[in-house]
């Protein structure tokens, strides 16, 4: 049975910091760094925002755009590498907050930046098999780069939620195909108990990001028997602005195709939220018949690729009841590094 998206929602914190300001503190030309990475500013969560609040806001935004009864939701999966609790699920709080509890299953996922898309695939299986009517897949993060590290210029916060159902529902987008490419590649990790992640520097590029994203994207197009020009929108994982552009070129896409799904230059890398927010951004402006290719990448490493077709329903759901990704991108307030350090818990406080 065909599965797809019934509704969607997104959330981006309102605070931003610019690379120049980060560089100022570390004696680096941050502006040049930002240009090189193609990241102009990144979102920063307030002290009272975390993956749980972002997930809840995105899920509520999603519920605003649908008539679906929350009690018909059979599963909620939240993918993140920054769950506020190491043990105790984010997903149960989301379930209570959208009043889907208690008759459902829930779990938290972690697979670096692709835990959200793993949640989509799980959801497809559960609804497609008829086990449940709806399943919710969320990708959200409030990731941190170590102070002074290159990642500090990009690690951002945000998330998106998708309500997944079958063709029996009014799908706004049908998922035609999905394909995953997974290997054991240690390009980026965070050990238990560590506050900041570590990475393999340039090793994160060719053998990790590019190999997985391009292989997954190309294989999916073979499965779908499609050509690059068949897609109206392409959303690739975006650790910075540079990588997806280059991977896109390697697969034969133009920057025009990437345009609506590439948010990192304006909000930074939202990790598990990244392609999910890109998809939400595309759905905000999508028209019936639009074909979408989405490829997520998670370090460690793997890529989940999706081929979607937007249906007529996209114009029937009340998209305006939620907040558009563009509105959230444009509504921001800048902070300095000292405030950023305070908000992100980088100042050592008295116990």
């Amino acid at each position: 049975m065909k599965t797809g998206i019934v509704s969607y929602g997104a959330y981006i914190p309102r605070t931003r910091i610019e690379p120049a300001e980060i560089g100022r503190v570390w004696g680096i030309d941050g502006e040049a760094m930002g240009k090189g990475l193609m990241v102009h500013r990144k979102s920063v969560p307030m002290p009272d925002e975390d993956t749980i609040t972002i997930s809840v806001q995105a899920a509520r935004d999603m519920m605003q755009r649908t008539q679906a009864d929350p009690e018909e939701i059979g599963a909620i999966f939240v993918g993140s590498e920054s769950h506020p609790y190491a043990v105790k699920p984010t997903s149960t709080i989301v379930a209570e907050a959208i009043e889907a509890a208690p008759h459902l299953t829930a779990a938290d996922y972690e697979f670096a930046c692709k835990a959200g898309t793993a949640a989509i695939q799980t959801s497809m299986g559960l609804v497609g098999s008829g086990m449940m009517r709806y399943s919710v897949a969320i990708g959200a993060d409030t990731s941190q780069g170590a102070p002074g590290d290159a990642l500090e210029y990009t690690a951002a916060a945000g998330g998106a939620a998708l309500l997944i159902g079958t063709e029996k529902e009014r799908l706004i987008a049908v998922i035609n195909h999905t394909y995953s490419f997974t290997t054991d590649t240690p390009d980026f990790w965070r050990r238990e108990g560590q506050m900041y992640p570590s990475h393999g520097g340039r090793f994160t590029g060719e053998p990790a990001y590019f190999k997985h994203v391009v292989t997954a994207g190309k294989t999916l197009m073979e499965m779908a028997d499609t050509k690059p020009e068949d897609y109206h929108h392409v959303i690739l994982h975006q650790p910075n602005g540079k990588f997806p552009n280059r991977a896109g070129k390697q697969m034969g896409f133009t920057s025009e195709q990437l345009k609506y799904g590439l948010l990192t230059p304006e909000i930074g890398n939202t990790y598990s939220g990244a392609v999910m927010l890109g998809l939400a951004s595309v759905l905000d402006i999508a028209k019936p018949g639009d074909r979408i290719l989405m490829v997520a990448f998670g370090s460690g490493a793997g890529s989940d690729a999706f081929d979607l077709t937007v249906t007529d329903e996209i114009e029937k759901i009340p998209r305006e009841k939620g907040t558009t990704v563009r509105e959230m991108i444009d509504n921001y307030t800048l902070i300095d590094y000292a405030t950023y350090a305070k908000y992100r818990g980088k100042i050592k406080m008295r116990e």
Partner: protein, 135 residues
């Protein structure tokens, strides 16, 4: 460790603004009460669950500069009394706005935020705060 059940049992109202409406007089109360303070005996068994819309307007507000230690990171923050569209008033913070842009009568809506944490290893508390509504 802390007061886990004390916070946990209020989650429905903190997460989803669950209040009650007295079917006898139509008044709305938040948080829920078992007896209507106006109708007394007449209201017994007639207090019906009512989820507030989350929309309201600022009735009064202040910028808190001297706060409890658990709010240290948010200081200074805006605290407000919000008059909900259903008529009840609620106290919480206003977020995502500059203090100078807040005014009495400003339209706001509820969002979920972290309210606090029990130290570095205890339970996290979540609940409503308010943000301005696009006008």
């Amino acid at each position: 460790m802390g007061s886990i059940p004390r916070f946990w049992r209020e989650n429905p109202s903190r997460y989803n603004l669950v209040g009650v409406k007295c079917d006898n007089c139509g008044r709305v109360f938040f948080p829920p009460r078992d007896i209507c303070p106006v109708c007394h005996r007449e209201s017994i068994g007639k207090m019906k669950r009512l989820e507030l819309s989350g929309k309201g307007s600022v009735y009064s507000y202040t910028l808190v500069q001297d706060a409890h230690p658990q709010f240290e990171m948010l200081k200074p923050y805006i605290l407000a009394m919000v008059e909900m569209d259903e008529g009840v008033k609620i106290t919480s913070q206003i977020i995502d706005v500059k203090p100078e842009d807040v005014h009495i009568g400003m339209k706001v809506e509820a969002v979920m935020r972290k309210l606090g944490a029990e130290g570095n290893s205890g339970i996290l508390h979540y609940g409503y705060k308010f943000r301005p509504v696009k006008e």
